[in-house]
Symmetry: C2
Subunit: 355 residues, 2 copies
């Protein structure tokens, strides 16, 4: 892509203090990285006990009345509510629609729960709802049930939105990390880091050489186009909080295989690369909301890549790596200089409240 | 019931200033009364536009993959998080399970979205999750998908919980206000006002003659027992925010019929009646979380009442009124002294953040 460049040599991710035995919740517990996973796996899931039959995933596939359903939820606490390329309303629709799409489901119905802070302008609520409605129409999903709560000033931040969604998973689709095997090809649908840098630039009033606009988009039709080529895709993931690094690490851990990424193949727009260099961020760890990473059997990879590139949301798609039998559970990047480095699971948050 | 007494002559509901043209959200917009309805119907729904195909109900009945599903969501912002008889975890399960039950559905799967405030004790998160897990097991529902966000200190209140739920609606069940006709009998499953007074007593550190413990409970099995008597119930509603008054008004408005309530027939425990008299509250407007009101065809009413009384959660069930052709859309109470009064839709909130 002409608007992307090779990733710069990526800054190493430095770990803050250990997260175990912390008595209180810190921002990093919401970052989508290792601290989030620890909170869920060591605190929430044991407490839920048998009420949670399996690790809580972004999107569960369940059977109900003979139908195979994907069911997912996300809360959105992004600050600011409106940013270049989108708003909390767009995120609330696309975040849940995309979680469903990563199970291979086309979203059918959404719920919408609002937590409003006393004193927020009614006009702001209306603008959020308008954005949510427009995003729902664009994604072809209907908002059918809702709830509104109000909390006192100083106990919220304008508007928080939760959406949950249900969709049908077509027969024959089985997308999960356990299906990944050595030889699989890793495909990315386009440039990384755009959503996170767009939020950061708006929040901190930073001005970069080129404006960075969020990539927030619904991925259902792109996934359909890919599954039309082959229903045998192994796993899909949208690299939101924690970025591409977190998604690749989750898949590596879940598959028990190793993942090798060619760093030069990961599309990073120059404006994102420049902003990351200035801010000390690694584009591999910055959140996206309109991108997906796919693990495909080698024999289907070229056809899947072609289908992605033929779709507007996959025009910048690229093969970025492969699955290997070595270093199981670990993600390794081949750097531009010919070296290798480990791409760790992020620990906490780089950019809080990004979605 | 020996532990209930006739409702005291109820205080009239006084309207604050008109809600139209307010520029900002106030606490009353979250009260479940007329102000909540106005925010949803005049602001949110028009903004959502065609993305919301119908008024947003507590529980939508939708078709997906040949299955008839109920789908519902609720956010919970109750303060304090733990109160006599329950916690935000119990409410988060039972609130959504009960919304589904009011469509005749047995809840099957729940999502759980947490919004944690930076600084909240990890132990508090664990206790909320334990309560949620125990409530889910009691209700026979599984938590299959989740999400956790963290907001900075001063932008939340410890823990907010959103749940969404899906369940199957059996064939032949059609519960909605439009099915209500003159002659229908109004049944209530037990004493009103208990949850609201339990929260208020804990929050304000009030001590009444007798402890008041929340009635928070999952109503799915009670509804099943009632529908086993006759699938031809006309409508069910759980009188949460806005209390019995709001539920009866919603049903009257939706049916285009009048509702007459015998005030002496509405079970109000003495401790609730005393607390309400002291606090200037009307028990008809105080929130419940383990009660339901049912509109049944006259010919089935006795059998339904018997089935309710045979269930632990309906032991205090009573016939409290009937549907009439007069005063369409209006709820009227016959008072203990032989007079009548209009039971208005509540406007805003009596007790904020009660669920």
């Amino acid at each position: 892509m002409s608007d992307t460049a090779a990733a710069p040599d990526l800054l190493s991710w430095t770990c803050p203090a250990p997260v175990r035995d912390r008595p209180r919740v810190v921002m990093g517990h919401g970052g989508g990285g290792a601290m989030s996973a620890e909170l869920i796996e060591q605190i929430v899931l044991p407490a839920l006990g048998t009420a949670a039959p399996a690790p809580l995933t972004d999107s569960a596939v369940v059977e109900l009345g003979g139908a195979r359903l994907a069911f997912s939820t996300d809360s959105f606490v992004v600050r600011p509510l409106f940013f270049p390329g989108g708003s909390i309303g767009d995120l609330a629709v696309n975040g849940t629609v995309n979680d469903l799409a990563m199970s291979g489901a086309r979203a059918a119905y959404l719920s919408c729960g609002l937590i409003l802070e006393e004193g927020v302008e009614i006009d702001t609520v209306a603008r959020v709802a308008e954005a949510l409605g427009a995003a729902a129409r664009a994604a072809g999903v209907r908002v059918v049930t809702g709830d509104t709560k109000v909390v006192e000033a100083g106990h919220g931040d304008g508007v928080y939105v939760n959406t949950a969604g249900v969709g049908l998973v077509p027969a024959g689709i089985d997308l999960r990390p356990q299906r990944v095997v050595p030889g699989d090809v890793v495909l990315l649908s386009g440039a990384v880091g755009v959503h996170g840098i767009a939020i950061m630039s708006e929040r901190e009033n930073l001005r970069f050489e080129a404006d960075v606009v969020s990539d927030c988009a619904p991925l259902g039709s792109l996934v359909e186009a890919m599954l039309a080529v082959t229903p045998d895709l192994h796993v899909l993931r949208d690299p939101t909080r924690g970025g591409l690094a977190a998604s690749l690490n989750e898949i590596a851990a879940g598959s028990g295989c190793g993942v090798v990424v060619q760093e030069r193949s990961v599309p990073v727009p120059p404006a994102v690369a420049g902003a990351c260099a200035m801010l000390g961020l690694d584009p591999m760890y910055v959140a996206n909301e309109g991108k997906l990473v796919a693990f495909a059997p080698r024999g289907h990879a070229d056809a899947v890549l072609a289908a992605m590139r033929a779709h507007p949301l996959g025009a910048g798609a690229a093969v970025i790596g492969e699955v290997v039998a070595e270093h199981p559970g670990m993600v390794v990047a081949r750097t531009g200089l010919g070296g290798t480095r480990v791409v760790d699971m992020p620990l906490g948050e780089q950019l809080p409240r990004i979605c």
